[in-house]
């Protein structure tokens, strides 16, 4: 695979960064993930950290070659991250369970698959146009859908930060999956938290991405987004990937990686004691181990 990828997470005008971003890829599969820990709740940072760590961990466990079922992987790993957050809260006797949004995207076989919970967004931009996007699980989005308010009014609405699906909540997250899209050369997938997307409209972003590489464009655009918030900027984070000409030998190719090797980059702080998988979770490794145990028991018991 040949693609250009950029990611950054900025503090904005806040004291702490509760956003976590990450990507990881092997020869044939790419994962991008972003999580926005919720400020109103204790340790939103921890929730976002667990989400990115857990999803990345499972990705590296299951995507040794390609993912057989990308949507199932996305949904089950977001659910697993939710359970891991809840377990963390139980283990640490937290009064309130930390919460986070999450959007994750898989690219393989030239196609993109994504799933999300909350109001962190994913855009697919093609030739300057927004061809696909996640629908926020937010109160204002519901009001827009119902025709009660305009998107412009939503940006100023007092409830604009209220979301109805997240990881770590009392109820398991509502997870929406996007349709899978075949990527064309120049297509750019952008994942961002609300600190960024509230300030930079998708059409502007689309127009700019068309002219400039994400590597050149986004650092300045993050600064611009923070500036526009006029001293009240939330944390702002972006992961963006442009799908390149797969035959362009001048560009790096993920085939250069060793078999089953992953290149990974995240802003997680690794301060958690351990991002242990939730107790009732069954991973591929568990399955292999169980089968090995049964087979060994079969061999041991005299027949």
């Amino acid at each position: 695979m040949r693609f250009t990828i950029f990611q950054d997470s900025r503090l904005g005008d806040r004291k702490g960064n509760e956003d976590r971003v990450g990507y990881s890829y092997s020869r044939d599969v790419l994962l991008m993930v972003i999580a926005d820990g919720m400020g109103g709740h204790e340790q939103g940072e921890v929730a976002a950290e667990i989400a990115v760590t857990e999803i990345t961990r499972r990705f590296q466990q299951e995507a040794r070659n390609r993912l057989r079922r990308p949507f199932e992987f996305l949904v089950s790993s977001i659910q697993a991250a939710h359970r891991a957050i809840v377990s963390h809260a139980v283990e640490h006797n937290l009064l309130e369970c930390p919460r986070t949004t999450c959007v994750a995207c898989i690219v393989q076989n030239g196609r993109a698959f994504w799933a999300h919970a909350g109001d962190s967004r994913l855009y697919v931009l093609r030739q300057g146009a927004l061809i696909a996007a996640t629908q926020d699980h937010s109160k204002v989005q519901q009001m827009i859908d119902a025709g009660e308010i305009t998107p412009e009014a939503a940006a100023r609405h007092p409830d604009r930060n209220k979301i109805y699906s997240c990881l770590g909540g009392v109820v398991p997250p509502l997870i929406d999956t996007g349709r899978d899209i075949g990527l064309e050369v120049g297509d750019t997938i952008v994942l961002s938290t609300d600190g960024f997307w509230t300030q930079i409209p998708a059409n502007i972003l689309g127009g700019m991405v068309r002219k400039q590489s994400v590597l050149d464009l986004l650092p300045g655009l993050l600064t611009e987004a923070q500036r526009r918030a006029q001293g009240e900027s939330d944390n702002l984070s972006v992961v963006a990937m442009t799908w390149e000409n797969q035959d362009d030998a001048r560009l790096p190719d993920t085939q250069a990686l060793d078999d089953q090797q992953f290149a990974t980059s995240t802003n997680t702080t690794a301060q958690l004691d351990s991002a242990a998988p939730a107790a009732d979770d069954v991973t591929d490794e568990d399955i292999e181990r169980a089968i090995a145990e049964i087979q060994s028991a079969i061999r041991k018991v005299p027949r």
Binding site: E72, A290, I291, Q295
Partner: protein, 313 residues
Amino acid sequence: MPQQANQPLPAGYVLNGYRIEKPLSSGGFSIVYLARDESGTPFAIKEYLPSSLALRSDGVEVSIADEANLSVFRHGLKCFFEEGRALAMISHPNVVRVENFFRANETCYMVMQYVRGRTLQFHIQRHRHEFTEPFIRRIFIHLMNGLREVHASKLLHLDIKPANIFISMEGRPVLLDFGAARITLSEEAMKLKPMYTAGFAAPEHYRFKPGELGPWSDIYSVGATIYTCIAGTPPQAGDQREEKDHMIPLRTLARQDYSDDLYQLVDDCLAVDYMKRPQTAYELQRRLMSEPGVEKRGFLETINRPLSKLFSR
């Protein structure tokens, strides 16, 4: 997605070296196939396929009907492993033997010894007149050996019924289908509906409070199975009996003479209150052995009791 029946693997399909001949049975959690290995030895292969979660409408690979069910599917897989693990540790002539266990087609398979014979259900339908007291006692005394072994492995069968008891050609009863065998406490597992067969499942089984289930729940099912051997039909369902007990007294349904002791034993096993049942397979086995099973005992036979006890083993 509409609920569809799961398609079995096609005949002739080669699964990890075993050639599928035909499906033998299918239940809520699985399909069992007759298959042969390269040398032609027959096996019964059980495929984990919970119909409420997984789907195979065509081809051989299993897909999950609803993506959100993947983790539940996998959790059920864990139960399937528990069954495999427990069975792998049991080597007993009255419990079906596990020969192999592997993963394929996005699900898992358990290869079991294929027992030639017929289910107890078949015999009840065709040959109920042959179910004399000594025959019943002999079958169930042997079966209790197997069930004791199962309980000793900290496993409950939870679906004992005539269809799950095989009588081999030599007349040996073999306990089959541990598909319901599990005890799980987690909320996720509750989504996998407890499997029960009306008439054979104990009243507490319907509530599925794991704390109430125990060897006595299997004892209830054994009682219901003996009842069916004699009556030809199972007793009133456990959950209904709990509301209003209309179970027909076994004596009125019997077509031949059985001892008061056997009627009492079946009645005790079928107690709605699980505390009033024989609590273990061993206890039930002892009671099955304690009476010779002769219709009317004269004075001399009473004297011979210890001797008869030996014979009935």
